[in-house]
């Protein structure tokens, strides 16, 4: 995954100007900001609110509602492990435990070296080749102990 850019409020302004002609531009703007900086910093919220004529509270409300957006930086990589029913049925809970142990963190946490953030996800649409996970934008199915170990090793690179 491309390393995230240093925060720059000019960049945020440019993103807003580029997308504000869309109908309902806020989610596309937040996605673009997060893609670029890895998170949605408070300063970005200020710029977005100002340029869209919204209050900061309104924009915060949206940022906090959705699981995808976060206000603090995440690890260099994000590992999302599916915790939903089809993956549970296929032994996913044991895989999830193993991944937590290997990384030494719990779901929702980031490793101390800032390499990996571990998140739960509820279904990746891979339920017939479960258990499943996603490392940044890459998908992984049929996880077993060996594959899970390779995945955590790769996430820490």
């Amino acid at each position: 995954m491309a390393p995230k850019a240093e925060f720059d409020s000019e960049d945020v302004a440019a993103i807003v100007e580029d997308l504000k002609g869309l109908e309902g531009p806020l989610l596309p703007i937040l996605h673009a900001v997060q893609d670029r900086f890895g998170h949605v910093p408070d300063e970005a919220v200020r710029v977005i609110a100002h340029r869209l004529n919204l209050t900061r509270a309104e924009v915060y409300g949206v940022v906090s509602f959705y699981h995808d957006y976060h206000r603090e930086p995440h690890g260099a990589h994000t590992l999302k492990v599916c915790r939903a029913e089809a993956c549970q049925a296929a032994g996913g809970d044991a895989i999830a435990d193993r991944i937590e142990k290997a990384l030494g963190i719990k779901f929702g946490e980031t490793t101390a070296d800032g390499r990996v953030t571990l998140e739960a996800v509820y279904c990746l649409g891979l339920c017939a080749t479960a258990p499943s996970a996603m490392l940044d934008d890459r998908l992984f199915g049929r996880l077993n102990a060996a594959k899970a170990d390779r995945l955590t090793a790769e996430a820490q690179l």
Binding site: F65, A84, Q88, G125, L139
Partner: protein, 518 residues
């Protein structure tokens, strides 16, 4: 002569090494001087065989699967180029028993064609439905879809034709077609498969809906967990626009229609139609009170069709072959075909499109061949996280909206998740509350508070604390949630909880089951 080799771009295949196989094949072909073309097709739905590599020979297509990264060289040595013998050869994929048992109407091209080739799409029956729709005009299209008996595949089963008629008759300068591609239910992947494997089919379905209603703008609200579908769908829209299928003059007609993909942001509740509309408008995805119906006041307050991806993608075939053709499949008030999605602990999992009416037992034991672990099936959850758990005793239930409702279940988006005898139903009941607590939009108290209380109470049950008293409390909570929630997230969470308690009382500490007796 160039040999065409198919390696799916579908997420099932990609998650299990398809991109690596493409790299291997490209390298090997260069080294050996082979004249090949790699086609990234969709998946045929035999997920346990993915990546399923196919070669086009004089005798037709020959498939091999599942091929794992590192196996390409041996496959070429075995004579892949001519469909040579190999331990993983399955012969002609279309002759496979899993495929032979299906009636593929909506998914007829999926896995067969190049998903991004509009020529291929037309060569396999694409755009006939849309052309016919434009000739018939909107009122005719509404009648045809109504007559076909098509009901929404997103879960609620509302007749699609009637929804379209309401939007058609609603006054408004600007109307919208919104495809609900939020597909959050565990055990489901039909929307994803059609968007990755035959994206023009969804585009055509949306265009037909536009003809029916006079809408000029379409949105596909696509969940962020589907990176492949997002990429393929956007490229297909670009190509359809370049070819004039979409744009100021849709298929050369007097109507303008274009489509945009909007990516969700990881909220299950945004699959609920009104919450989805708020999300598209750039707000928190909270459920709206109804009325007004989205058909009258939908996106930005304008008349809006909001349909599940599969509902929309079913209409090109209905328009091409006629309402009667479609309606002749199915049972009772469930007409046509349904793409079953069989998942979890399963031997032959994947997508199986068939007329309504197979029994649950025929599906999970016959078609799917039971569990992957080889242990007996104990429970089957049908319809996603808000669907009931079915025990073996109910395996004679036919796959039909009304038959499932009668057994206190639902077919939802037709996801079927199989569990073997190691499942602990207490944990499943607990998870239903946990999921509801995580995903609640927070608008109404029974759901917001009830889910958290339910989770705490189930923890006590699991801990063995005053089991019968706490199970009574769970039942009370379920009652409150079922009747006091604004939408089905809070309203249907009782289905998995109560079905687990009723049908699997032995897992709940063998307490005298007041609730189980009913």
């Amino acid at each position: 002569m160039t040999t065409r080799i198919f390696i799916p771009l579908d997420s099932f295949a990609v998650a299990n090494g398809a991109d690596e196989l493409c790299d291997e094949l490209t390298h090997l072909a260069a080294r050996r001087g082979l004249d090949i073309e790699i086609v990234r097709n969709g998946s045929r739905g035999m997920a346990w065989l993915e990546p399923l590599v196919e070669v086009e020979t004089h005798q037709g297509r020959i498939g091999y699967g599942p091929i794992e990264p590192g196996e390409m060289e041996a496959l070429l040595d075995a004579g892949l180029m001519n469909g040579g013998a190999h331990a993983k050869c399955i012969g002609d994929p279309e002759e496979h028993p899993f495929m032979k048992g299906q009636t593929r109407l909506t998914f007829k091209r999926c896995g067969v064609t190049d998903p991004l080739s509009l020529d291929d799409y037309e060569a396999h029956g694409g755009l006939i439905g849309l052309k016919r729709a434009i000739e018939m005009g909107g009122a005719g299209v509404v009648d045809e879809v109504t007559e076909s008996g098509l009901r929404g595949r997103g879960g609620a089963g509302f007749p699609t034709g009637i929804k379209w008629k309401t939007v058609r008759e609603a006054a408004g300068e600007r109307k919208y077609i919104v495809a609900n591609a939020d597909e959050g239910d565990s055990g489901t992947f039909a929307d994803r498969m059609i968007m990755e494997g035959d994206p023009f089919c969804l585009i055509e379905g949306m265009a037909i809906a536009a003809v029916a209603t006079g809408a000029t703008k379409g949105y596909i609200y696509l969940r962020s967990e589907y990176p492949v579908a997002i990429r393929v769908m956007r490229e297909a829209i670009r190509r359809a626009t370049a070819a004039g299928v979409l744009g100021v003059s849709m298929m050369g007609s007097a109507q303008a229609f274009d489509i945009e993909v909007r990516v969700g942001a990881g909220a299950y509740v945004c699959g609920e139609e009104t919450s989805l509309l708020d999300s598209l408008e750039g707000k928190r995805g909270q459920v709206r009170f109804k009325p007004p119906l989205p058909a009258i006041k939908g996106l930005f307050g304008r008349p809006t069709v909001i349909n599940n991806v599969i509902s929309l993608a079913s209409t090109p075939e209905i328009l091409a072959k006629g309402a009667k053709f479609y309606k002749d499949f199915g049972m009772g008030r469930s007409r046509g075909t349904i793409p079953l999605q069989i998942a979890g602990n399963v031997r032959h999992g994947g997508l199986f499109e068939v007329a309504f009416g197979l029994t649950l037992g025929e599906i999970v034991e016959g078609i799917a061949g039971g569990t992957d672990t080889g242990k007996p099936i104990r429970a089957v959850q049908v319809g996603g996280p808000l669907g009931a758990y079915f025990p073996r005793a109910l395996f004679d239930t036919p796959f039909d909206y009304e038959a499932f409702a009668e057994k206190n279940g639902l077919i939802g988006h037709a996801g079927i998740v199989i569990f073997d005898e190691d499942v602990d139903m207490k944990k499943q009941a607990r998870f239903a509350f946990e999921f509801c607590a995580i995903e609640s939009c927070g608008k109404c108290t029974p759901c917001r508070i009830g889910a958290v209380r339910g989770l705490e109470t189930m923890d006590k049950v699991i801990g063995g604390e005053n089991v019968s008293g706490n199970l009574e409390l769970v039942e009370d909570l379920c009652n409150t949630m079922q009747f006091g929630s604004l939408c089905a997230l809070g309203g249907f969470t009782p289905y998995p909880v109560m079905s687990a308690i009723r049908h699997f009382p032995e897992d709940f500490e063998g307490t005298p089951m007041r609730v189980a007796a009913e």
